[in-house]
């Protein structure tokens, strides 16, 4: 399962957000500058043309493996084993949906899909909710040691998941939560929190302090400020965090395999797909279609949340 590795997606989405905000400021700057000479205008369009070109090339390069996987998933098994996917782009074309049929007809694939949902939805909402509370406290409440605790949490970002597997497994065994959904929800919450707290804190901290102060004077408690002022304004950051976290949990094989075991009644799609391949790896063509099936839901989530990346959600609140 090398498609849609989390860090890669995370990077893509962050740059997306950054470009948007950057784009806004450059538009503003553009309106206020003096009229440009033809030469400057030419340089500018050449520059922006070059930039567009580079970005497009990088995006295309980035998509090549996914595209190859997509093509392969429609090729017959023997063709996949015999030649590279690019060969099939030239006629004569031999495409088939056998691979998809194979995966979908496999036993327990429906259960695996449901399991993935059962794991991913709480595994996304729990850390986002906890992190939002924590990020609010780190950004807008004063308490002793606040910055040190925050630093400690951010430091946890460097701890590799693999290192923590055995200790976590032991803890969950001791409290009898191995092989249960609750155990893996808690594990994913813990794994997701450092990044989630970090991301949300930076966003919350960037909101104008006047807003919170105004709400405090208006008589709002911290809880009220959180729900009435902050959450509505934080929708874009929450949406991007939900995407990160959902993809992380949805694509996770390692944690699920270790903490849930391979039992089909609990196994998510990643585990089920990995089990499709026999121990000799000879039928790996099924992975191509399975990968696309498992990609479907994250894509839906991404595109449905994308509209929340609206810029200027703060427009009108403060001068700026």
């Amino acid at each position: 399962m090398s498609i849609a590795k989390n860090p890669a997606h995370a990077a893509e989405i962050t740059t997306d957000v950054d470009l948007r905000s950057g784009g806004k400021s450059s538009v503003l700057a553009g309106t206020s500058v003096r009229a440009l000479s033809p030469r400057e205008r030419l340089m500018r369009s050449v520059n922006s043309g070059l930039l567009t070109f580079v970005v497009v090339v990088i995006s295309l390069l980035w998509s090549v493996p996914t595209f190859g996987l997509f093509i392969s998933s429609f090729r017959p098994a023997d063709a996949i084993h015999a030649s590279g996917w690019w060969n099939s782009l030239l006629p004569p074309w031999h495409f088939t949906i056998e691979n998809y049929q194979h995966v979908l007809q496999t036993q327990d694939f429906g259960t695996a899909f449901i399991n993935s949902m059962i794991i991913s939805i709480p595994g996304t909402l729990l850390p986002v909710l906890v992190a939002a509370f924590a990020a609010y406290a780190f950004a807008w409440m004063k308490f002793p040691g606040r910055d040190w605790i925050f630093l400690a949490i951010v430091t946890l970002l460097v701890v590799p998941v693999q290192m923590t597997l055995i200790p976590i497994f032991q803890i969950l065994t001791n409290v009898g939560l191995t092989g249960s959904f609750l155990g893996i929800w808690l594990a994913h919450t813990a794994y997701g929190l450092p990044f989630a707290v970090y991301l949300l804190r930076s966003f919350f901290g960037a909101l104008p302090s006047d807003l919170m102060e105004s709400a405090r004077i208006d008589g709002a408690s911290h809880l009220r400020i959180f729900f009435s002022i902050l959450l509505p304004l934080a929708v874009p950051s929450l949406a991007s965090l939900v995407i990160f976290q959902f993809m992380w949990v949805w694509n996770d094989l390692l944690v699920a395999l270790v903490l849930l075991g391979g039992a089909p009644e609990h196994a998510p799609m990643t585990v089920a797909i990995a089990n499709l391949v026999n121990s000799f790896g000879t039928n790996y063509e099924v992975l191509t279609s399975a990968a696309f099936i498992s990609m479907a839901l994250p894509l839906v989530i991404f595109f449905s949340l994308q509209r929340y990346f609206v810029r200027g959600i703060l427009a009108g609140s403060v001068k700026g």
Partner: protein, 387 residues
């Protein structure tokens, strides 16, 4: 309605020198008090202490008869208008204004009435259903005022509410805020760095610099009797002209001041109140011995253009630098000997305010008649006024 009292209030951040030192200030009930000063003088900190947004390091703050040092902002019964409006961007104008009332569980009907009334006072009724981003800067600031108004608070706090508005709107909103004060009769505390706002709106003005109150008084009092060089230079636009001079006591009981040195030297004979001060006849005049160095302040309007050149001891002359025509008057920047520029001054060099019909152009040597009874004297070492 309530008064606000600072008693020996300090504000410190860490080990640094205090931002506010021993602040003692009584803001009377129903009063419109302006805190004015350059940026970093502690005026906003003082206001935020009243709001409860800043802790008080030492001393006591009263609102009414209650010590509010440890009272949460929401329990102080104050309302605040921020420089950046601080409207809730996801709420309509109505919801913005109703937010505080809803939090206090005011019945919906009353909320509607109070918002409606405030909106009417401010002329924002047509925008009640809009979001802040659909409003212009001036409209947003009026919504911010309205949000404070519906609360019917004991004290209104305004933190530079006009500085984000353009010049014309600023003048309009200024009048509107004054009108609001008259209509509500509530205590207003208004922070600004703009002395024109301070002069036009305040019942009393507290001039702050470096965390200390320099002077507290009515606008006219500050203008006529600035207690030190800072206030003299800060209040008034264009600001007061200052000169480094020597006091000369003449044998006949008169006094004159010697401006400039050597060939440039010019003399002004003192008359009226200024003469009383300089000869030690006015109460509390301090050291007025012969040869004493002084800083003399002259308001730009105390100059008039004098055709004849000097001789009567009431004129000084200099070369014109720049002339600004304002229609009803002209501001003439003159190079005069001995000119002294304090840090708070708005204009560098000496300015004279002359009638619009006077013919003056840059490079001319002009002589200016000085109303020598209206001079202000300051001690060069303490910068305090001599009276």
């Amino acid at each position: 309605m309530a008064d606000v009292r600072f008693q020996h209030v300090y504000k410190r951040y860490g080990e640094n020198a205090p931002v506010i030192t021993d602040l003692n200030l009584e803001i009377e009930d129903h009063e419109f008090l302006v805190l004015v000063g350059p940026s970093g003088c502690g005026k906003s900190t003082a206001l935020r202490m009243i709001a409860g947004l800043e802790d008080i390091s030492e001393g006591e703050l009263f609102i009414g008869e209650r010590i509010v040092n440890d009272v949460a902002p929401k329990d102080r019964d104050i309302a605040m208008v921020f420089q950046n409006y601080a409207l809730y961007p996801h709420m309509t104008v109505f919801d913005n204004m109703a937010f505080a009332l809803k939090l206090r569980h005011t019945p919906a009907e009353e909320v509607g009435q109070r918002v409606e009334r405030a909106a009417q006072m401010l002329g924002i009724t047509p925008y009640l259903k809009r979001k802040p981003r659909e409003l212009s800067g001036g409209q947003r600031q009026r919504v911010a005022l309205g949000r404070a108004l519906v609360r019917d608070p004991q004290v209104f706090l305004l933190d530079e509410p006009l500085s984000n508005l353009d010049a014309k709107l600023r003048v309009q909103t200024r009048a509107e805020i004054s009108r609001l004060h008259q209509a509500t009769g509530t205590t207003f505390v208004y922070v600004t760095h703009d002395q024109v706002e301070a002069m036009t709106m305040g019942d009393r003005i507290a001039v702050l610099n470096a965390g200390l109150i320099q002077q507290l008084g009515t606008p006219q009092d500050l203008y006529d009797n600035p207690s030190n060089l800072f206030v003299a230079g800060f209040i008034g636009s264009p600001s007061m002209d200052f000169f480094e001079v020597k006091l000369h006591r003449k044998g006949d009981g008169h006094a004159e001041i010697i401006i400039g040195q050597g060939d440039e030297q010019q003399r002004l004979t003192l008359t009226g109140h200024a003469a009383d001060v300089a000869t030690g006849q006015a109460p509390g005049a301090g050291d007025t011995s012969d040869g004493r160095p002084l800083i003399v302040g002259i308001r730009p309007e105390d100059f008039t253009l004098n055709g004849a050149s000097g001789g009567d001891g009431q004129t000084i002359s200099g070369v014109v630098d720049v002339v600004e025509h304002l229609g009803n008057e002209q501001l003439v920047y003159v190079r005069l000997p001995g000119a002294y520029v304090p840090e708070a001054a708005e204009t560098k060099g000496s300015t004279a305010r002359l009638g619009p019909s006077e013919k003056v152009s840059p490079g001319d040597r002009i002589s200016l008649h000085v109303d020598t009874s209206r001079l202000h004297f300051f001690d060069p070492s303490t910068t305090k006024s001599l009276v």
